[in-house]
């Protein structure tokens, strides 16, 4: 076909391959159609979390667009993407943390273990006990290390302790001791704090505080751990400990982690979801696939550090 008989569209298509692949517009931005197959991640085993057509609006801002994702249990799922892409918003939807934002409007469905969490009558305390959250900045309570871990179980009534319980003869100090040790061991910090459980948690290093916060989240025996940039405030050694820990935890828990650090996602996750600007999920697949041969050109550019 000669150049003169081509339509503009055909000429574009000839240069860029199939119409569904990225085509560069005059502004230099890529205008790529997201294919459903790029986000239709197939895996063996059970899905712990299923979202369907999840949309989030902050006022007029459409922060998340039609996110349908199945997150397998007992594995690490990384959410990556540039600032403002909606990955943290998505994470917060998974235990209804966005409920606190009055301007936020959420549409669509999120199921945890087959149960819709956005329906009336869902017990939020119970939900957040099963779906724990660890934040970017370690935020231990200004209390003892022991109290930080046992706070949740006591609040939820899993252990009884205090003056009244002592008087009534149902003090469960031994149970508390076991629970605290178990959680601290799971969070790989027990060896560093076993001699000073009554010290104030704020005296720990940043990395230790973060592992303490993970222990605190584990103490309520959750199924899912959500982590929002859990290592970004830490040095490389503390980061490495957290990464080791996340891997070990994924044997028993479903971990969903938001990270700005693509290398971290590559190192620790089993599957990776890439959100790009505009609140869209562009690609979701095995981490091997995403980092070795992504389908989307925009994803390839993003993970290669080529922007614009």
């Amino acid at each position: 076909m000669s150049e003169t008989t081509q339509t503009a569209d055909e000429a574009q298509q000839t240069r860029d391959g199939p119409a569904t692949s990225a085509s560069v517009t005059t502004t230099g931005e890529t205008d790529e159609q997201i294919r459903e197959s790029w986000t239709d991640y197939q895996f063996d085993g059970r899905a712990q979390i299923v979202t369907e057509d999840l949309n989030v609006y902050y006022g007029d801002d459409h922060a998340l667009k039609n996110i349908s994702m199945e997150i397998p249990e007992k594995s690490v799922t990384a959410l990556i993407g540039p600032s403002g892409c909606g990955k943290s918003t998505f994470l917060r939807c998974l235990n209804r943390m966005n409920d606190r934002i009055s301007a936020a409007r959420i549409e669509g469905s999120v199921e945890v273990d087959g149960r819709e969490i956005y329906q009336d009558g869902v017990n939020l305390v119970e939900l957040r006990k099963r779906v724990g959250m660890v934040f970017q900045q370690p935020n231990p309570f200004p209390k003892s290390i022991r109290d930080n871990v046992s706070y949740g179980p006591r609040k939820h009534g899993d252990i009884r302790k205090g003056l009244l319980d002592r008087l009534l003869g149902r003090d469960e100090s031994e149970k508390e001791r076991e629970l605290v040790e178990h959680a601290l061991r799971q969070a790989a910090i027990w060896d560093e704090v076993e001699d000073r459980l009554d010290d104030n948690a704020l005296g720990l290093s940043g990395g230790q505080q973060q592992r303490l916060c993970i222990a605190r989240a584990l103490a309520t025996d959750p199924d899912v751990l959500l982590m929002d940039e859990p290592a970004s405030a830490l040095d490389p050694i503390a980061t490495s400990k957290i990464e080791d820990l996340i891997h070990d935890l994924s044997e028993d828990y479903t971990v969903v982690i938001v990270t700005h650090n693509m290398q971290q996602a590559a190192r620790i996750s089993d599957q990776t979801a890439v959100f790009l600007t505009g609140g869209e999920l562009v690609e979701y697949d095995r981490t091997d696939k995403i980092f070795e041969n992504p389908e989307s050109e925009r994803v390839e550019d993003y993970i290669s550090g080529k922007f614009g």
Binding site: E243, D244, I246, H247, Q263, R267, T287, D288, F291, E292
Partner: protein
């Protein structure tokens, strides 16, 4: 994948490369036996088994790519993975050469130029491969240089073997009609055997060169 797991994966890669080298060395040794003993069954075993090596090669190459893509290795780890990546290719090629040698064993039916000792050359190249892999396993720099020196000897052995064949052909005088045709494939096979063994030596040197780079970031043997 984590740092501890990552270290385990690096150790596994090292063990797998060593295991592949054992398989390859074993095949080379059997090909040489098949040549000397005219053992058709053994030769066929070698020619038929090359796909095992190829599969392992592709699998380990994939592991190297995956480690680079997901673990962002730097410094010594990066040199180890990239050196292993290249060494795998050399091992796979030695596997191919073993297949060639076994194929010659299948075709050859009589001994010519009995003074040309391909077994001796074969044993020398096999020893080079073993030494190169030992250097890789132990990070032994001296052994890397020793392998390179040994290759000069092997090259000389190969050269004098080829010379002996050519000299023999020239001095044997004119061959009678018909004899040329029957002798031609035999001579060609013998020369190819010598050439392939020489190449095995070259690949063993490559392994040593990559190992030297891996251990000391020294690329002198690569030149």
């Amino acid at each position: 994948m984590t740092r501890e797991q990552y270290q385990n994966r690096l150790e596994d890669l090292r063990a797998d490369v060593l295991y592949m080298s054992e398989l390859v060395g074993n095949r080379l040794s059997r090909a040489l036996d098949a040549l000397s003993q005219k053992d058709e069954a053994m030769a066929r075993e070698v020619t038929d088994g090359d796909d095992v090596i190829n599969r392992q090669y592709l699998e380990l190459e994939g592991e190297c790519v995956n480690l680079i893509a997901r673990q962002q290795p730097v410094a010594g780890d990066l040199r180890f993975i990239t050196a292993s990546f290249k060494i795998l290719t050399d091992l796979e090629r030695i596997g191919d050469l073993a297949t060639n040698l076994a194929a010659y064993a299948l075709e050859a039916d009589r001994e010519i130029f009995s003074d040309v000792d391909t077994q001796q050359i074969g044993a020398a190249t096999l020893a080079m491969l073993d030494a190169a892999m030992e250097a890789y396993e132990a990070g032994d720099v001296d052994l890397c240089w020793a392998v390179a020196r040994r290759d000069d000897e092997v090259d000389e052995m190969c050269e004098s073997a080829s010379d002996a064949v050519v000299r023999g052909l020239i001095t044997s005088g004119e061959l009678i009609e018909g004899e040329i045709e029957t002798k031609l494939p035999e001579v060609r096979r013998l020369l190819l055997t010598v050439r392939d063994l020489e190449r095995v030596g070259d690949h063993a040197v490559n392994v040593a060169a990559r190992t030297l780079y891996m251990v000391e970031s020294n690329d002198e043997l690569l030149e």
